[in-house]
Amino acid sequence: MSQPVLDVRDLIVEYKTPKGPARAVNEVSFSLRAGERFGLVGESGSGKSTTVLALMRMLRGGRIAAGEIRLNGVDLAQISEPAMRRVRFAEMSLVPQGAMSSLNPVLRIGDQMADIFEDHGVRRSAVEREGRIERLLEQVGLPGTVRWRFPHELSGGMKQRVCIAMSIALRPSLILADEPTSALDVVVQKQVLGTLSRVQRELGAAIILIGHDMALMAHFVSRIGVMYAGRLVETGPVRKVFAAPRHPYTKMLIEALPSFEKTAAFKGIPGVGPSLLDPLPGCPFHNRCPMAIERCRTDPPAFRTGSEDHHAACHRTEELADA
């Protein structure tokens, strides 16, 4: 197998708080091959978005306390701030969460795309640049004339398409999409995700899709990672994870999905996640886990290999797999 595009090893992110450091991301490791689609799911506060911000090194008030982030072999945790600036969008781009408010209201779309080329030292004539911007917009299903528009003249779906066009402008090898459709309605969500999927395939970039919608995720990614309380608790091919989850939290997340086959009371996961300031001893999920045993309260479970590349951090993962 060739070198992975992204290799994250034991990443720890801490936010400074008056009560001490809060670990928003705790010993997270995963890697992506070229062109691979990886999904990160988890409830609010599980550390998905913080992981993405850490990869971009754009944590506000937080810091990478430990770990490696190797992008195409270079450890981003170690390089200088100016070098990191040049990596952004050129090698790793971001499709933002708040499509409605992510564009500068006083600049035309074309100008907001042109400045990416300018600040990354892509020297082109004005005509060439215009043509490039026009083609990028057409690639995401927008007319090229959108480059003359201001953001307030576009719909939410169009704005998110503009953001997707920007994210592929410098042909990065990795795209981070942080809940790219959460601000859109269901119909537009599907279309925008379809567009993102198409341009990602054409470009051959790897992508990390963040979300909490398990069903949407299942359609889009090939591999999935489930986060809970700052930890990655299960990773594996999306089919295997859905068919036979190896962590009780994943199992409950999947069972919480509404189904057409059986009509039953809507199931959630009772309780709330633990405080990041005062982490639970042992397994972070033990206070909400129906399968918790005495050992889970004292002994943090290690990440264990199941079949092939399907892993989970649970003491009773074998019992789940057999069930």
Binding site: R86, L94, N104, V106, I116, D119, C163
Partner: protein
């Protein structure tokens, strides 16, 4: 589309001016007492003349100023004279016309305050932006923040301190007046240097006092703009810090500053009364101060009218250029 918008804004401006002229006409007539009798009594008291025929003199003056006519007639006549910029005579400096008094003071005030306002706007806005920008070096932010202390000192106090230090103790700058005596005004070096020499202290006192207000407004706006999603995306795009600061941060945070600037520029025709008085600067503010002291109703009225009209015009001009600085206001009724 844009023509519609301009026409509507122009209509609003005309309405404001109409109301301003009307109120300016009504208010003095609602005030108790008779300004003519009061003025005559004052003249007689100081001159020691015969007191008997005050009533007759007042009546003849009323006839002379048209004050014996019915109110609607006076109102039309008032409009007629306003349109011809005929604001009547100064009571204190008769036979000087109010329009002459205003025109004599206006260039001084517009020059001094226009210059000082633009300088404090530019410096204050930049200062506020630098203080709010998180990547500004710490010492620079600390220095900038300490400058904001000046915004809490009233400008006449700063003026008095400057006057004491630079004009009385060190004698670097003149203590008053707009230009050295005996200068022949024209487009020549002695005029320009004379104006600058006399204008420095009053201008500095206004700039120092106002810079803080501009900086505070800008700091607050930029801090909230920097929390916007488009700043996060701009940073994710790997843009140069300078571009994020200027085109994503300052450019958006500037919008309310422009509104404030237009209002402030509209206000400058009334002068900076205290500064002009302290430096005996021959501007409108000084005239207004004298007029208030001498109950010179027509001069006061004229300056107030000029003030309201110039604010209305300034707001109209702002409305015209606002679509250029904020594309979301595009003349479609938003």
């Amino acid at each position: 589309m844009y023509a519609d918008y301009v026409a509507r804004r122009f209509g609003i401006m005309l309405l404001v001016i109409f109301l301003a002229v009307t109120i300016n006409f009504v208010i003095p007539r609602l005030a108790p007492g008779d300004p003519i009798e009061a003025q005559l009594n004052q003249l007689i008291a100081s001159g020691g003349g015969a007191a008997g025929d005050v009533q007759a003199m007042a009546a003849s003056y009323r006839a002379r100023f048209g004050l014996d006519q019915p109110l609607w007639h006076q109102y039309l006549a008032y409009w007629n004279s306003v349109l011809r910029f005929d604001l009547g005579f100064s009571l204190a400096n008769y036979p000087e016309r109010v329009s002459q008094a205003i025109l004599a003071g206006l260039p001084w005030t517009l020059g001094l305050l226009g210059f000082a306002t633009l300088v404090s706007f530019t410096l204050g806005t930049l200062l506020g932006g630098i203080v709010a920008w998180p990547r500004t070096p710490r010492f620079l932010r600390a220095a900038g923040s300490s400058l904001l202390v000046f915004s809490s000192i009233p400008y006449f106090l700063i003026g008095m301190i400057l006057l004491y230090l630079f004009a009385i103790v060190w004698r670097v700058f003149p203590a008053g007046g707009g230009i050295p005596f005996g200068t022949t005004v024209g487009l020549n070096w002695s005029t320009v240097s004379g104006l600058a020499w006399h204008g420095t202290l009053p201008a500095i006192s206004i700039v120092i006092a106002e810079i803080g207000a501009w900086a505070l407004g800008m700091r607050g706006m930029l801090v909230s703009v920097l929390g916007e999603d488009y700043i996060t995306l701009a940073e994710a795009k790997g843009l140069q810090n300078r571009r994020i600061f200027v085109w994503y941060g300052m450019r958006n945070a500037m919008l309310p500053q422009f509104t404030k600037l237009a209002l402030t520029l509209g206000h400058i025709v009334s002068g900076a009364i205290l500064v002009e008085v302290i430096f005996s600067y021959p501007g409108i503010g000084f005239r207004l101060y004298q007029a208030i002291q001498t109950n010179d109703y027509f001069v006061i009225q004229g300056i107030v009218l000029l003030l309201t009209i110039s604010i209305a015009v300034a707001m109209f001009i702002l409305d015209l250029i606002y679509p250029l600085i904020d594309p979301r206001i595009d003349g479609r009724g938003r």
